[in-house]
Amino acid sequence: MAEPLDDYIDAVAGALALPIEDAWKPSVRANLAVTLKMARMVDEFPLPDETEPANIYAA
């Protein structure tokens, strides 16, 4: 059965010209699943529209 993230991984790898061998895919998929879980946890947190990102820049 196809893994749900595999199509996404293939598409992004193609768009970014990243070579991903089949043997690496389970590990990439596992890492991406953890990262997206972490990202969703942040995404769920409501922030005011006016919130500035914390990146540092000074003109």
Partner: protein
Amino acid sequence: MQLDPVITAQIVQTNGDWRPASEIAQAVAAKKISALAVTEAALARIAQHNPVLNAFTDVTADRARATAKALDAAIAAGQSVGPLAGVPFAVKNLFDVTGLPTRAGSKINRDRPPSIRDATLVERMEAAGAVLVGALNMGEYAYDFTGENIHDGPSRNPHDVTRMTGGSSGGSGGAVGGSLVPLALGSDTNGSIRVPSSFCGIFGLKPTYGRLSRARSFPFVASFDHLGPFARSVEDLALSYDAMQGPDAEDAACSTRAIESVTALLGQDIGSLRIAAAGGYFRKNLFPEAQEAVARVTKALGVTRDIELPEVARARSAAYVISTVEGASLHLDRLRTRPNDFDPAVRDRLLAGAMVPAPLVDRAQKFRRWYRTKVLALFKDVDVIIAPATPCIAPKLGQATFVLDGVELPVRANIGIHTQPISFIGLPVVAVPVPLDPMPIGVQIIAAPWREDIALRVAYALERAGVVAAPRAKGF
């Protein structure tokens, strides 16, 4: 090389450990010993013990001897020398060192041309009289908490060579923990100074984000990268920190603040400081040793209350996301052209990082702003927050999991759970070693931004009280 016992006594204590850097520097400046003799002592220790510890990847013996001889000549000519005169130090191999390719723990970077100029912090240490003796092992591209490296072999913990040093500044931890050198420099993006300090039983300072220049060091995550020192005493930590402070236009994130020296302030009374322990998240997922270490420190400081940092788990998650994405961006071309030359574990994390949708990264940076505001507000009521540095003592080399509260957890992913939420917003932290037997473990002394002085004063008071100390590693 055998050194004269009278000379040796000026360099090492009766227990075989290095004398404090300030004492070595004073003896060198007073011509009681030569900088060259101190350098030879360090080189001899490295030659004897590095085959076991694997802390050094490069020993710059010729350069060190030349530096020491120049220092001795300057002293003989009556010139004044800096506060670290003749004190040996080494740097994680992501610092540029003239004549060496900056490998940053990787195979790929060995193909870079040799550096043509030292990193700013190396220049500043040597301007203060310190003598660079080599470059140190590290986890590949600093994306590591273990100190293991598939290209160079693992750094080994001097307190038990079957255990990890912690990473990614593993060689820095091993070199200072094993007393090969009294001082080392490393980097800390999510915990890479504080974790090896904890596992190797030494002091480490992760300064405020932007305090110390990162110029001519190999990056990892621009948002979180910090550089800082390791030492065997708080005074040595402060001396090296003071020597490295100051603006640097060559690091875009480096603050323009003037130097705020701390060494002379270390002995100031801490009785008026308001100190709390980090509660909630920071009380969980701890092995008994970590609980014991925090308890000893809080008891000695008379801490009676916990303080709750808000949304810490989410902060750690946001740090994780930003790290993997910025790391992927940094290495994108290398992932395209030389994917088989990475450590596969690092490569696959970075490949995954390249696939995170941009809005999620932007939201993580916005959450970071929110979290910063909330945490800084806590410093209206406290001056210092105490937290564990690591959930456990150093795991065994190669250990993949540990069992905590009946749950099997991956080691790599959990070593930094208590450090990541702090470096996420760039707070200054001194990692202090609690000398439990047989393995030491660290505690974080956390202060408000730009208040390294406060964290160092608390660390100094704990050291003077005998609560924290860098224990001698048996056999080294």
